[in-house]
Amino acid sequence: MLKAVILIGGPLKGTRFRPLSLDLPKPLFPVAGLPMIQHHIEACTNVPNLKEILILGYYPASDLAQFVSEMIQEYKINIRYLQEFTALSTAGGIYHFRDQIRCGNPEAFFVMNGDVCADFPLVEMLNFHHQKGDRALVTILSTEATRQQSLHYGCIVLDKDTSEIKHYVEKPSTFVSTLINSGVYLCSVEIFQTIAAVFNSRQQEYYDGGVNGRDTAVIHLEQDVLMPLAGTGRLFALQTNNWWSQLKTAGSAIYANRHYLELYRRRHQNRLALQVTESGDRKQCTVIGDVHIHPTANVHSSAVLGPNVSIGSGAVIGPGVRIRESIVLSGAHIADHSLVLHSIVGRGSKVGQWSRVEGTPCDPNPNKPFAKMENPPLFNSDGRLNPSITILGCSVTVPSEVILLNSIVLPYKELTRSFKNEIIL
């Protein structure tokens, strides 16, 4: 029997995802029409004999309750949200809830960071882990990055013949390896002995007076567990060429949206809007490429959507509207003839007629193999706003006939004019 643990952190995390995380926990932000971590859950449900999914974080339980019950209903699998009393970090949370994870005697469990998006090859990881026999304690899913970008991740040096991890270092300052930790793991239950050893030595330090007020329950999976395991022959890595990305900034949501929609084309055709030629339906809007339209959204037949657009529940898209490379969240309203490019339109936001809401994509360089999202800071070294996607927080009003370019608008703001390269508080 198997289990999965999805680590979602808490409200103090994901600040770079503002203003979208101001009204909704970031793990529930819809990408390609589904809350971010529903993609994790769906990947788990495709693993045979996986009996339970535990979501770990320190969001209030009420934030997740509805989502969890909806997921149970939809996927007919055990799902529980376990709330940490404080931020315990990756391994600390797992250790704190070790009894919950171990109960029912699973042989192994997946650990997935909630803020990664990927075509998760979980079954492949399982087979790989089995092949390595009893010696395998942890299998890390790894992916290739560019030399430069690898410095922002956990770097893995691999024995090419055995797939054993010979060396592991977290965010090195000099180049170590282009193979990086993707934040998805398969752990044998024996891992708890290793984490327990770390925990106990922390307790010991505490009573010896050497922790300086640090919370001894905080244990980082990467630095405290994986790094010491490297070179012991018990830590393995499975390299994948599947699409993978972190979802740190709002800008990366557009990129993740595009890739999840692309996966639908292969696996969930029913989630994509039909192109007019396929449907032959004159009442349907024109669809270009991959587009997800929630069944309750109301899209006018003269609108043109796509490629890479998601329209949320109850959204209203008026006549002659054009939307490309964007996410329109539930209840938003885009009025006639307006254009939305490289933008996220928050829940219940309204865009008037003949307006233009446009951002600048910050996708990985397509000409560089293995390049990942850059996630640049909001401001550059001259103190100027870096051009990025345009984001409307929830319930923002954009008047008719204005342009909103590379701007971020915080929730409930009523705009009265055009804005360019501004954060509107």
Partner: protein
């Protein structure tokens, strides 16, 4: 002279057309400035028609370059109006007074006073009143003056109760007058004695002397006035012209559905469904405006196309240009002749040279070669 019958009372005029009209580029790269359509009519024709209306039968066009196309097109129009056009070519720039000396033989052929005007002026041309006013005071010259809001940017004219001009003050720092030279004059042929055939400024080198001698009067212009020699003022002038048209001959303005405010649409243009045109728009012959387009404060020249759902404010769209779908253009964007703006682009204050195809947005004002 030359055996030609001279009609008694037939007046003459000289229009200072000048050079290449560089201030109105990129439009003037394709068409000489006098032929650029202002409110669906070549700019110079507004003046020629007004002069003919006031009884002028002979017009000298002072040009500093040869333009076969212009001479041919204007001569045809002149024939229809029954006025004779004489092209007077400067071989070197002669300023604003020199061209009068060059046309001396024509202007001095009779004792009748003659009109002189700058070609970039658009207003309710007061030529009849000007001739009457001039005859009444009986001196050598009269200049038309117009009121401006910010006189410190111009040379102002100071004159007395009867209109007799005392002095000209260039860019006054303190308020002395809010009247400026409107670029329209009437002179007795005797004024030609003051002008040599050499580069001369009429404003700076001729007028001050005339004023000192008490020979120069000012007549105040009623209604709007605009120098439309550059794109921004061209559009402002268009707004003023259209509202004057609303007062004078509202029947010429378009009053179909989807139109807001003062709009001039050529009968051969086509307007799609669900558009909002206006206020202050002129649409030339053969123009196609597709469905769901919004155009404000803009001039769309002959044969241009604006595709569906686009939004234009403060633009001049050149002849046969094509603006794609969901395009936003604003802030005195000027497209030259035969420019293509691809779908979904944003053009902010772009000046686009002729025959150019634009495939990426122009977010800040820029000249596109």
């Amino acid at each position: 002279m030359c055996g030609k019958d001279l009609k008694i009372g037939a007046m003459k005029a000289l229009i200072l057309v000048g050079g290449y009209g560089t201030r109105l580029r990129p439009l003037t790269l394709s068409r000489p400035k006098p032929l650029v359509e202002f409110a669906n009519k070549p700019m110079l024709l507004h003046q020629i028609e007004a002069l003919v209306e006031a009884g002028v039968s002979e017009i000298v066009l002072a040009v500093s370059y040869r333009a076969e196309q212009m001479e041919q097109e204007l001569s045809e129009e002149a024939k229809k109006l029954g006025v004779s056009l004489i092209f007077s070519h400067e071989t070197e720039p002669l300023g604003t007074a020199g061209p009068l000396a060059l046309a001396r033989d024509i202007l001095a052929a009779s004792d009748e006073p003659f009109f002189v005007l700058n070609s970039d002026i658009i207003c309710e041309f007061p030529f009849k009143e000007l001739a009457n006013f001039h005859r009444n005071h009986g001196k050598e010259g009269t200049i038309v003056v117009t009121k401006v809001e910010e006189p410190s940017k111009y040379g102002v004219v100071v004159y007395g109760d009867q209109g007799r001009i005392n002095s000209f003050i260039e860019k006054p720092q303190e308020f002395v007058s809010n009247k400026i030279n409107a670029g329209m004059y009437i002179f007795n042929p005797s004024v030609l004695k003051r002008i040599q055939l050499q580069p001369t400024s009429i404003e700076k080198e001729v007028f001050p002397g005339m004023a000192t001698e008490g020979q120069l009067y000012a007549m105040e212009l009623q209604g709007f006035w605009m120098d439309v020699g550059q794109p921004r003022d061209f559009l402002t002038g268009m707004c003023l012209y259209l509202s004057s048209l609303r007062q004078k001959s509202p029947g010429l303005l378009y009053s179909g559905s989807g139109v807001v405010g003062n709009v001039l649409i050529d009968p051969t243009a086509s307007i799609g469904q669900g558009c909002r045109i206006g206020p202050n728009v002129t649409i030339g012959p053969g123009v196609v405006i597709e469905n769901g387009v919004c155009v404000k404060r803009s001039t769309i020249l002959r044969g241009a196309t604006v595709k569906s759902h686009s939004w234009l404010d403060g633009c001049i769209v050149g002849w046969r240009s094509v603006v794609g779908q969901w395009v936003r253009m604003e802030n005195t964007t000027v497209l030259g002749e035969d420019v293509i703006v691809k779908d979904e682009l944003y053009v902010n204050g772009g000046q686009v040279l002729p025959h150019k195809s634009i495939g990426t947005s122009v977010p800040e004002p820029q000249i596109i070669m």
